[in-house]
C-alpha cells in the first residue's frame, strides 16, 4: 500500500469517527429531548443563523472569529518572541536559570485566570487580551526550549569542539538545529493553551466581539446551540492550526527521523 492510499485511509477513518460521534450525539439528544442538549441538526441551524444573520447584537460570526484570531496571534507571537530566546539563553547558561528559578517557577503555576483582576486594573483593551494569552502560551514554549538545550547530543558538541569549533559556531550549527523540533512542539502546546485562555480573557468583558464573548452571550440566554457552535469553532480552528503546524514541522525537520507526530 503506497503512502497516498494510507493517507486517504486515515482521512476516511477520521470522517467515519466524526460520523459515528454525530450519530451517537443525535441518538443521545433524541433520548434526552432537552433544549440543553441540542441535536447536530439544531447546532447546524444555530451555525447557519450565526453565519448568515450574526449574533443577537448583529455581530457576524466571522467578526468574532477574526477578533479572537488576532488576539491569539498577538499573544502567541509575543510568547514565542520572549519564550524562545529566553529558553535558549537559560539553557545555554544554566546559571542564569538556576539563579532566577525562584521567580520563574512560581509564576509558571499561577493560572492566567488568576491574573485577570490585575490585568483589568493595569492594562487596557487589546493589551489585556494579549497579556493573558501570552501568559498561557509563554511557559510551554519557554520550558520546552530550555529543556531541549540540555538534551542536545553531547557527542555532536564534543566532536565540534575536537575540531576546534568556537562556542558561537556550536550554538548556530549544532544547538539551534537540534532544538528546533522541540521548540516547534512547545509552540504547538503553547498554541493550544492560547486557545484555552481566549475564553477566560474574553470573559473580562469590555468588548462585544470574540468567540469567548459569543459563547458567554448565549450562555446568558441559555441557548446551547449557539454555545456549542462557539465551542466547535474554537476546536476546528485549533485543529486546523495544529495540522498546519505538523505539516510545517514534517517538512522543515524531515532530516530528523524521530519527528513523526501524526
Amino acid at each position: 500500500m503506497d503512502k497516498r492510499t494510507n493517507q486517504l485511509k486515515t482521512v476516511a477513518y477520521n470522517l467515519l469517527s466524526v460520523a459515528i460521534v454525530a450519530l451517537l450525539w443525535t441518538m443521545f439528544a433524541a433520548w434526552q429531548n432537552s433544549p440543553y442538549f441540542p441535536s447536530p441538526a439544531e447546532i447546524w441551524k444555530a451555525f447557519v443563523g450565526l453565519a448568515t444573520k450574526g449574533d443577537i447584537e448583529g455581530v457576524s460570526l466571522s467578526a468574532h472569529i477574526w477578533a479572537s484570531l488576532v488576539r491569539i496571534f498577538a499573544g502567541f507571537v509575543a510568547a514565542c518572541v520572549l519564550g524562545i530566546p529566553l529558553g535558549l539563553a537559560m539553557g545555554l547558561w544554566p546559571k542564569l536559570y538556576n539563579r532566577t528559578r525562584a521567580i520563574l517557577e512560581p509564576i509558571r503555576f499561577i493560572p492566567p485566570i488568576a491574573w485577570i483582576p490585575m490585568a483589568i486594573v493595569l492594562l487596557v483593551g487589546f493589551g489585556r487580551y494579549v497579556f493573558l494569552i501570552w501568559l498561557g502560551a509563554f511557559f510551554p514554549i519557554f520550558i520546552t526550549t530550555l529543556l531541549s538545550v540540555t538534551r542536545v547530543n553531547p557527542v555532536h558538541v564534543n566532536v565540534a569542539k575536537v575540531f576546534g569549533a568556537k562556542r558561537s559556531y556550536i550554538i548556530r550549527k549544532i544547538v539551534i538545529p537540534s532544538v528546533l523540533p522541540d521548540i516547534a512542539t512547545g509552540m504547538r502546546v503553547g498554541l493550544g493553551i492560547a486557545w484555552m485562555c481566549i475564553v477566560a480573557a474574553e470573559m473580562i468583558g469590555g468588548e462585544m466581539v470574540g468567540i469567548g464573548r459569543l459563547i458567554l452571550k448565549y450562555a446568558e440566554l441559555l441557548r446551547m446551540g449557539e454555545i456549542i457552535v462557539g465551542m466547535l469553532v474554537i476546536g476546528i480552528i485549533g485543529f486546523i492550526m495544529n495540522e498546519i503546524f505538523i505539516m510545517v514541522e514534517n517538512r522543515l525537520f524531515r532530516w530528523r527521523s524521530e519527528v513523526s507526530i501524526d
Binding site: 433544549p35 443577537i56 473580562i204 468583558g205 469590555g206 468588548e207 446568558e220 440566554l221 441559555l222
Partner: protein, 326 residues
C-alpha cells in the same frame, strides 16, 4: 455481678434507642435548600441579606446552602441544572429562562427600580450618549434591556459592552467605556469616586419597573408547596424587618458591600420596596415584549403574553400570607 451487667446493657440500649429516635426526628424535620443571590446585591434584595445574616431560615428548621453569583443569568444557569432551589435576582434573566421552557416561578418582588446610568462628565445630556460605549452586566440582564430601551426611545446608537458590575467603575475611570448601567450601589460608588455623574435612573427609563424578584424552582413548588410556603413566609418576615429597621439594615449593607454608609444611603434613594412585595406585572410584560423583539426570547415561544405571565408569576401564596390581593 450478672445483674449489674444486665443493667448496663439495658441502660446502653435505652440511650441508643433515645439517640436514634431523636436523630431521626431531627433529620426528618430538617429540610435542605440551596439559595442563590447576586454579589453586592444587598440593596436590591435586602430580605435575602437579612434572612442569611439572622439565620431566619435555619430558625424555621431549614438547612440552607448559600450560593453567590455574578449576575442573574449565572444564577439561572445553576437553577436550570437543579443546583439552586430558590434565588433572588433580576426578573429579566428569570423571564429568559422561562422563555427557554424551564419551570421557574416568581414568588414575590425584591425591589422595584434601583438601577442608574453613570456617564463620564463630558456627557451632559441623553442625546450626548449617541455613539458611546456603555457597560452593562450582560445581554441577559434587566440593565442591558434598559440601555437598549434608552437607545431606541431616543434614536441613539449605543454600543453595549458586557462586564462585571464591580469592574465597571474601573473601566469608566480608565476611559474604556463612556458610561455604565448597574444596580445600586455601584453607580453611587462611581459617582462618589468622582469617575462620572448619574444621567438617568431606571425610574426615568421605566417608572416603577420590576427589578429583582424571589424566584423558585417550579418543580419544588409542585412537590413540596409547604416548604416553598415556609421560605416565602420567612422572606416576608425579613422584608418586614428591613422596612422597620432601615438604619440597622443600612449598616449591614455598608459592611457587606464595603462601601461608605453615606454612599449606600444615597444609593438607597433610587430603590423602591413595595409592601406587600407584589410584582409590577405591566412593567414585566413590557420587558418580556422587548425581550421577544430583540430575540433574547425566541419568537414563537410566547404565544400569549398573559398566559406566559400567569405561568411565571404566582402571587397566590403571597396573597394568602400577606392577606392582601395583588
Amino acid at each position: 455481678m450478672r445483674q449489674m451487667v444486665s443493667k448496663f446493657w439495658l441502660v446502653t440500649a435505652l440511650v441508643c434507642a433515645f439517640t436514634f429516635t431523636t436523630t431521626c426526628a431531627v433529620f426528618a424535620a430538617e429540610k435542605e435548600i440551596h439559595f442563590g443571590y447576586l454579589v453586592a446585591d444587598q440593596l436590591h434584595s435586602p430580605a435575602v441579606m437579612i434572612m442569611k445574616e439572622k439565620k431566619m431560615l435555619e430558625a424555621e428548621g431549614i438547612k440552607v446552602t448559600w450560593g453567590e453569583f455574578l449576575a442573574g443569568s449565572y444564577l439561572m444557569q445553576h437553577m436550570v441544572s437543579g443546583e439552586i432551589d430558590f434565588g433572588s435576582g433580576g426578573c429579566v434573566p428569570v423571564m429568559i429562562t422561562r422563555g427557554q421552557g424551564v419551570d421557574v416561578v416568581i414568588l414575590a418582588s425584591a425591589n422595584t427600580e434601583g438601577s442608574s446610568i453613570v456617564v463620564k462628565n463630558s456627557i451632559q445630556t441623553v442625546k450626548d450618549m449617541d455613539g458611546t460605549n456603555i457597560g452593562t452586566p450582560g445581554i441577559g440582564s434587566i440593565q442591558d434591556a434598559m440601555v437598549e430601551k434608552v437607545a431606541k426611545d431616543n434614536s441613539l446608537k449605543i454600543t453595549r459592552k458586557s462586564m462585571k458590575v464591580s469592574d465597571m467603575p474601573i473601566f469608566l475611570q480608565k476611559g474604556e467605556i463612556d458610561g455604565f448601567i448597574a444596580w445600586a450601589p455601584h453607580p453611587a460608588r462611581a459617582v462618589d469616586l468622582g469617575y462620572g455623574h448619574e444621567i438617568l435612573t431606571s425610574h426615568d427609563i421605566l417608572p416603577g419597573h420590576q427589578c429583582c424578584v424571589l424566584v423558585a424552582n417550579g418543580e419544588l413548588l409542585k412537590k413540596d408547596p409547604e416548604l416553598v410556603r415556609t421560605v416565602l413566609k420567612t422572606y416576608l418576615n425579613a422584608y418586614e424587618w428591613f422596612l422597620n429597621n432601615i438604619d440597622e439594615a443600612l449598616a449591614m449593607m455598608a459592611t457587606k458591600t464595603g462601601m461608605k454608609p453615606e454612599v449606600v444611603r444615597n444609593a438607597l434613594k433610587t430603590v423602591l420596596y413595595p409592601n406587600p412585595p407584589f410584582c409590577n406585572v405591566p412593567s414585566m410584560k413590557q420587558m418580556a415584549e422587548g425581550l421577544v423583539e430583540s430575540d433574547k426570547i425566541q419568537k414563537g415561544v410566547i404565544t400569549n403574553m398573559d398566559d406566559f405571565m400567569k405561568d411565571l408569576y404566582r402571587p397566590q401564596l403571597l396573597e394568602e400570607l400577606s392577606g392582601k390581593k395583588q
